[in-house]
Symmetry: C2
Subunit: 447 residues, 2 copies
Amino acid sequence: MDHPPTGPSAPATTGRTRLDSYVDRYAARTAGMTASEIRALFAVASRPEVVSLAGGMPNISGLPLDVVGGAIADLVANQGPVALQYSSGQGDPTLREQICEVMALEGINAHPDDVVVTVGSQQAVDLVTRIFCDPGDVVICEAPSYVGALGVFKAFQCQVVHAEMDADGLVPDALRQAIAATRAAGKTIKFLYTIPNFHNPAGVTMTAARRAEILDICRSEDVLVLEDNPYGLLGFDSEPMRALRADDAEGVIYLGSFSKTFSPGLRVGWALAPHAVREKLVLAQESATLCPPAFNQMAVSAYLQAHDWKGQIKQLREMYRERRDAMVEALGDFMPAACRWNVPHGGFFVWMTLPPGIDAKAMLPRAVTARVAYVPGTAFFADGFGSGSLRLSFCYPTPERIREGVRRLAGVLEEEMELRATFGAKPPQGEHPLPRSGYDGPGTDLS
Amino acid sequence: MDHPPTGPSAPATTGRTRLDSYVDRYAARTAGMTASEIRALFAVASRPEVVSLAGGMPNISGLPLDVVGGAIADLVANQGPVALQYSSGQGDPTLREQICEVMALEGINAHPDDVVVTVGSQQAVDLVTRIFCDPGDVVICEAPSYVGALGVFKAFQCQVVHAEMDADGLVPDALRQAIAATRAAGKTIKFLYTIPNFHNPAGVTMTAARRAEILDICRSEDVLVLEDNPYGLLGFDSEPMRALRADDAEGVIYLGSFSKTFSPGLRVGWALAPHAVREKLVLAQESATLCPPAFNQMAVSAYLQAHDWKGQIKQLREMYRERRDAMVEALGDFMPAACRWNVPHGGFFVWMTLPPGIDAKAMLPRAVTARVAYVPGTAFFADGFGSGSLRLSFCYPTPERIREGVRRLAGVLEEEMELRATFGAKPPQGEHPLPRSGYDGPGTDLS
């Protein structure tokens, strides 16, 4: 591929010229630690002239900084010696009670003793994988799935088996087939990793009927469920869905986060686990960090006490809905007819399937030159699929910038299609030839 | 053993009666995750009537909470949208520059680009082990060594090989023998883990001559050094020693922390690593947490800018020296003649060797009943040794409480010795029969 360079202002790649004299000494798992496509993108997409539809950063501009600052100043003044000291590996008891109140909004009836606080829910994925997965163990993931979780599974040398989604979420038959095929191959399934609400990157939400069916399958097949739910309270059109965990306390580990409803910079997430698993998670947490930061936990706790956090979430939902609307409208106005996308009812992301023959990853340098960034679909598959799709984030830019970004991307796409038409290039490897009809979800990449 | 129960106020052990239905599903590494002796102690020793000489919590009562509160309030007001947002996996650039200034106090000339910020230096141990160690790989550790690091090595299924220390620190011949014996057994050494300053738990400091010799051995034997240095700036009698890393930038990974010089509740530590290793550490950090908390890093950075932190460390040194003096004086005043201990020149810990036949772990319930707690030496060995020794912390209680705690412990010991004399019990397994003479360091447990 002979794409133009991204210009003289592209940041230099550091250290690539230095040899790694340690290359033969790393653990086998380190081979699975490679820079994600998202990571390489961050540096480029952060240039101000680029409209980034790539990142998943929440828009925290609406946070009441006076409230947050006041709560934290009080915390230092009144509880400084506790907040600045070591604490327990499991996490602050008051915060764990408040976390149970948050989860109650999704129908979960849990005891604070079964909650483990983590350094963002990313660390919860890491700790769960650490305690369950030996090299070669299988984790079943939706197709596509969250890039950060795929990175953890890879780093612990798991094999990811993808199961298709449609507009109603994970497809039960696809899950059944994935379980059967994996077991037929003599492999061990450790858990199903699923993001039921406002999926990252797919944008779809698992329906209530599907939830019941997926839980049934996992119970009868004895497959543990890892329910990752950072966006559940950020629905635009309805009350929060009932969590999978609400209907199965023993078969589901539930992960939550304050990163999208309050602040990602504090890195406070949690896992709710069956009691025995919770004990292992605490031991893993102690090994990983001794304890998550007391300060951050108490800061979140103080914010929840000092502020109308439910009202704040309502504001966030309205802000993100406006941005979703801006993106969907712009897609309709500008995108070539052969493109398809879904309309998410919450969260941060739209999943778009490109016209046949267009490779999202190969197109990215042209897009960045045209001052718009996105994440190619391949980032969300463990197996090289997804080249015909991409993820568009509407969480961070203003509605005006979103519209401009989509306009720029449509221009790039049209040029790309013209080139294809002129030179008749073949579709790149791993791409599904045609999006299916009658379907507004993701997942055409795995048939 | 039929020790008396620790009384009705002892916290109930939760969950022990519930069966773990997941017991067959965990990863092999999870078998290595067990509750440390220190962990079980924390609950008991935190009762106010117990003088805890067990924990390693820094005494942060002297922190200028007004300065800290002001710096953090300014941070929220002026940089809230950055401090509360996602950040980079490697850590805040300004803080990394300041970290280089801190390390310069120990003769290290480093570039901020080679620093990775971690969630306490515990996470740095975790990430280094994660990228280097396959199951069965060997880590050479001092005898005794830091319990939290031993936990990480165990969790990653490493084999720990201990090498003896004396009053000058790690013994070069012991290191040579450990390397040779390990390699003769066909095993792979991944690194030497060492705490050169004010060792936890041994209290000793590696002399300058020893440092040169240890580095020579590691260079000629091609063994990577993991230098863990949380206490280096907390010397009582002299300026900071020159770090191992100061004399070998390619063969040493250096770990530092703000937990002992500022606040453990913010969980800000770091690793300084050769460039190629640094890249792997960043990838491992991204997989583990996406990024360490921006807020905490900027809070530490603001504190370092707003406050005379070197003056603060001077105050800490004086406070800890006073406590060390109180402990050493009380040991001399109260302990039976057959006990031996060292006099640390910094840090938090005294290592004490008990009279022949006394088992520190077996004695602990009696000690707690007598309202004093310590950590038995076995916690600091991977191989069951150390039963004839214990760690005494002087960091947290007041000098008066330290003296009272030592007095109580001496009483328990004398009763124990009397019982032994009366009933002639045999020394427990794994105990070295006699402390060596001419030696005021630890390590009599591995001969």
